[in-house]
Amino acid sequence: MKKILITASLMVAFATLMNSCKKDETAVAPPVPGNEFLTTVGLKVTNANDATDVQYAYWTDTTLISNPPDSINTPVLNLKADNKYNVEVLFQDRTTTPIGDVTEEIKERENYHLICFTSSPSLNLTVARTDKDTNTPALEVGLTDLFTTGAAGTGELNVQLRHQPNVKDGTCQPGSTDADVNFTINIQ
């Protein structure tokens, strides 16, 4: 009896020791393929009266991409006074080539998302969301918008992507923030 028990427990101990010698920790997991980081928020602005008047502004997270070039980190728009602009909000993963398009995933989960805009008081800009989700009743999303500019001036436009799983009610308060960036708008 004693011998059996000793032998059995030694075998178990040996087996677990052997198993432990696999040094799993030396294989550091590479970045998860297929996962996209939200590094960049962009605005594509098209003048409603002039389809050739197109501007892009981008805000890029410098902790994810250090020293980004101006092409993806100049969050400035120069708009004409008393005009209307059709706007697309772009969410991108600039860590990959080609650029990862996160907007698609947000569009797919539009019932959980809301984009909120807040202009600083000095900025004569009104923003109206022009798209709706498939909730009942349908609620706005904000991936496409209409900007209406007023008199000349300069200010900040805060763009927030609100994540509102099961709590979306059309207002900005519920849920948590996935993106929160500022653009400088010059109305001339």
């Binding site: 009896m1 004693k2 028990l5 000793i6 427990s9 178990v12 101990a13 677990t16 020791l17 432990s20 040094k23 799993d24 920790e25 030396t26 294989a27 550091v28 997991a29 590479p30 998860v32 393929p33 297929g34 996962n35 996209e36 980081f37 939200l38 590094t39 960049t40 928020v41 805000w59 997270d61 410098t62 902790t63 994810l64 993963d93 990862g100 996160v102 698609e104 995933e105 947000i106 989960r109 994540h163 799983p165 099961n166 709590v167 308060q173 519920p174 849920g175 948590s176 923030t177 996935d178 993106a179 929160d180 960036v181």
Partner: protein, 771 residues
């Protein structure tokens, strides 16, 4: 009576030595029998009332193995003549040395003095027995210890709580689960210990620097959870059933144990299992969405022992899924401030058992093999090997941005740590009032981190330690002193984000710690103990390398890979008076920690795509924690007792001349306990009314927290309990009401106090059938 040589026995001061806790059926009664000429008495028999027995060897030594806790009549006989019968209560390893004289005449009065001594006796030590544990059955480990003065719990919502000893927690409190260091991701304040409290037959809290015996990390103290000792009966068992109205929590836990007979003599076994389920908890006025718990655990033990040898195998598997309160999801600091400004969470919730994102999922498995051997001279060696693996997956409220279903279903953060430990301990026999324990231990860990957002790197660590403790026990004095040396080697593996190559960084730490203390039994009622001990802790991998957002706290934490070991000197003095009607315990402590590691607000922000976060940088400072724990138990009238407990702790950062953050507020706990006389079959009937007052924490450092500490609050708790013997079985019933007046309050140590109130009223029914 035939021809008699009556023996008058004088029993000397009895010495009780303790071995490692957590070993199965580990109580030994050992000692020697000498005659008045100090010559050994050979072949004398020592028998306990349950039949366990031993016979003295040629040196007069005897040993009774595997004694379970309880009251026994001990019977000594020589030459078929009973010369001693005494009742003795055993709840520890006990050394009973007998001296006797051959003499004609009557059996003279025998006096037994028994001291109860652990490996570290002069530290403040609190034990919770089965009865006390039953009163908190169904609660988390952290919650179930809160009634002890000096202990608190740090919480992340209702389901996740960690024990706090004298203001410190996580990496600074060591938990030994069945004698094995619990190793998971214990650095995180929102990582609860992966333990089923139902496993414990006894919990012991050692307050103070206990590194000497238990190794690094025991800066504030040690919590030992020991399963009940294995039984010698053929079959015994226990079934617990707990239900609580708040969260509609239900828990069922059972155990069966027994011993082999005939050709299976010497085999002992136990199986145990627990299922626990809770839904959304409720504050005084609203539900906390997604705060449910789903937990299950099972364990099995088998042991075999002979006269001087025993070996045991233990396996346990714990699994838990814990919802994270959905009102606590904040993307950034603005969200946090907005949540704090609201009187209640913006989205109304309702009751549900469903656990949605975000949640934590934990699987912890433990295998323990141990054996002991007792040598002829009554010394004893124990060898313990353990392997534990801990998997922790955390799922954020957001799904990853991906179309790949494999990525969508993967946790954002996943840690897997495997730990192997081996310990060899040698207990010397008591000789000329001296006894000692010596040990060596080794540990190795491998940690694998996977995740979408980076938190901590992979690592491997090796550690070893060697210690010796000697104890001198004579008359009214006990002295103990010990030394320990530890070495730790840590290598982290990281991947360069640009080149994708793996590189390593290696750290080594070594530390000498020691402890010395004394206990003086001034009178049989009054004793005083004092202890000075040192402890150490190597920086955890998170403190060295963390870089990222702490989601529920909306802070950005940055580690520092140059951190040194933390070292503490802990002075402790305690008084204990045990009178007929009055029991007083007072414990004063001063814990000076050099190179204390903490996250210091750097007063700058970092702007990420999700917003701006305050930056906290890990750094070191010299700090001091001082405090007192007091307990007075006064029997006002025959059936009515008043129990008053006070706990005060002050944490101060000596380097920057400021307070320490997240120190427990002053707590005053007063209980009236009324015993109702036995009615028909109902015995041990108690009614208690408890009022716990927690003051507002006013001593906080500036710029370290987002919201002022919450107001003081008082909670009224009620309970009634009884015991009902049913044939040979025993049914324990307890009914209690927590937060009787349904007070809405927030606690400073609950990290979710930014977002919601703490728990409202709860009716709890606990039953336990012992058969």
């Amino acid at each position: 009576m035939k021809q008699k040589t009556w023996l008058v026995i004088k029993i000397l001061l009895l010495m009780v030595t303790s071995h490692t806790s957590g070993q199965v059926c580990n109580f030994h009664i050992i000692g020697n029998i000498l005659n008045n000429n100090q010559k050994p008495v050979v072949h004398a028999s020592i028998t306990l009332s349950n039949g366990q027995s031993s016979i003295t060897d040629t040196n007069g030594y005897y040993d009774i193995d595997s004694v379970c806790k309880g009251t026994y009549t001990i019977t000594c006989a020589a030459d078929s003549v009973i010369f001693l019968q005494r009742t003795i209560y055993i709840n520890n390893n006990t050394t009973l040395n007998f001296t006797y004289h051959h003499m004609e005449g009557d059996l003279k009065e025998v006096v037994i003095n028994a001291n109860k001594i652990h490996d570290l006796t002069t530290l403040n030590l609190i034990e919770l027995d089965k009865k006390q544990l039953f009163q908190s059955a169904g609660k988390t480990l952290g919650e179930s210890l809160k009634n002890i003065p000096g202990l608190n719990s740090i919480q992340t919502g209702p389901g996740i709580s960690k024990p706090v000893i004298h203001g410190l927690h996580s990496n600074r409190v060591l938990i030994l689960n069945n004698g094995i260091r619990q190793e998971g991701q214990q650095w995180g304040s929102e990582h609860a210990p992966e333990i089923d409290p139902f496993i414990a037959g006894k919990m012991t809290i050692i307050e103070g620097a206990a590194s000497l015996r238990y190794g690094s990390d025991a800066i504030a103290g040690v919590i030992l959870l020991d399963p009940p000792t294995l039984v010698n009966d053929r079959l015994k068992g226990e079934a617990n059933l707990v239900g609580a109205s708040n969260s509609r929590m239900g828990a069922i836990s059972g155990l069966l144990n027994g011993a082999g007979y005939n050709k299976w003599e010497g085999i002992q076994w136990r199986v145990q299992g627990t299922l626990k389920r809770a839904g959304n908890f409720k504050t005084a006025t609203y539900y906390l969405g997604n705060s449910g718990i789903d937990e299950h655990h099972y364990s099995a033990t088998i042991g075999y022992h002979k006269a001087n040898f025993g070996m045991f195998a233990y396996y346990s598997s714990y699994q838990s899924k814990m919802g994270i309160f959905d009102g606590s999801h904040v993307g950034n600091l603005d969200d946090l401030y907005a949540a704090f400004a609201r009187p209640k969470p913006i989205t109304p919730s309702y009751f549900s058992y469903k656990i949605n994102r975000s949640y934590q999922q934990v699987i912890h498995d433990l295998l323990k093999l141990n054996s002991y051997y007792r040598f002829k001279n009554n010394s004893r060696a124990e060898l313990t090997f353990a392997r534990q693996s801990d998997l922790r997956n955390e799922y954020d409220v957001d799904l990853p941005y991906s179309d790949d279903p494999a990525v969508l279903n993967a946790p954002q953060v996943s840690f897997k740590i495997k730990t192997h430990t081996v310990d060899l301990i040698y207990h010397t026999p008591e000789k000329k009032h001296f006894s000692g324990s010596y040990g060596i231990s080794g540990i190795t860990q491998g940690n694998v981190f996977k995740g979408i957002r980076y938190l901590i790197p992979n690592f491997r660590n090796y550690g070893s330690g060697i210690f010796g403790i000697e104890k001198y026990n004579r008359d009214k004095w006990t002295f103990e002193a010990g030394l320990r040396y530890d070495y730790r080697w840590l290598r982290v593996y990281r991947r360069n984000d640009n080149s994708l190559t793996v590189y390593t960084q290696t750290h080594t730490y070594n530390n000498l710690t020691g402890s010395a203390g004394a206990t003086f039994q001034i009178t049989p009622d009054l004793s005083v103990s004092a202890n000075t001990g040192s402890a150490w802790r190597a920086p955890s991998v998170s403190e060295l390398y963390i870089k990222g957002i702490h989601l529920s706290a909306a802070s950005y934490e940055i580690g520092d890979s140059t951190l040194q070991s933390e070292r503490s000197i802990n002075n402790n003095i305690s008084f204990k008076y045990t009178g007929q009607k009055l029991l007083v315990q007072l414990n004063l402590y001063d814990n000076e920690i050099n190179n204390y590691i903490y996250a210091k607000p750097s007063l700058t922000g970092i702007t990420l795509v999700s917003g701006t976060y305050p930056v906290f940088q890990y750094t070191q400072a010299n700090v001091r924690l001082r405090g007192l724990d007091a307990e007075i138990n006064y029997q006002l009238l025959a059936p009515l007792a008043i129990i008053s407990k006070t706990a005060i702790v002050r944490g101060y950062n000596k380097t920057i001349h400021d307070y320490l953050i997240f120190m427990p507020a002053d707590k005053f706990d007063n209980t009236l306990k009324y015993q109702i006389p036995n009615r028909s079959k109902f015995k041990q009937n108690f009614i208690t009314l408890q009022y716990v007052y927690t003051a507002r924490q006013t001593r906080v450092p500036p710029n370290s927290d987002y919201a002022a500490p919450p107001a003081a609050y008082g909670l009224l708790n009620y309970s009634m309990s009884t015991q009902l013997p049913l044939h040979k079985n025993l049914l324990d019933i307890s009914f209690s009401v927590d937060n009787l007046t349904n007070v809405a309050y927030r606690d400073y140590l609950n990290r979710f106090r930014y977002y919601a109130d703490d728990l409202g009223i709860s009716f709890i029914l606990r039953t336990k059938l012992t058969f």
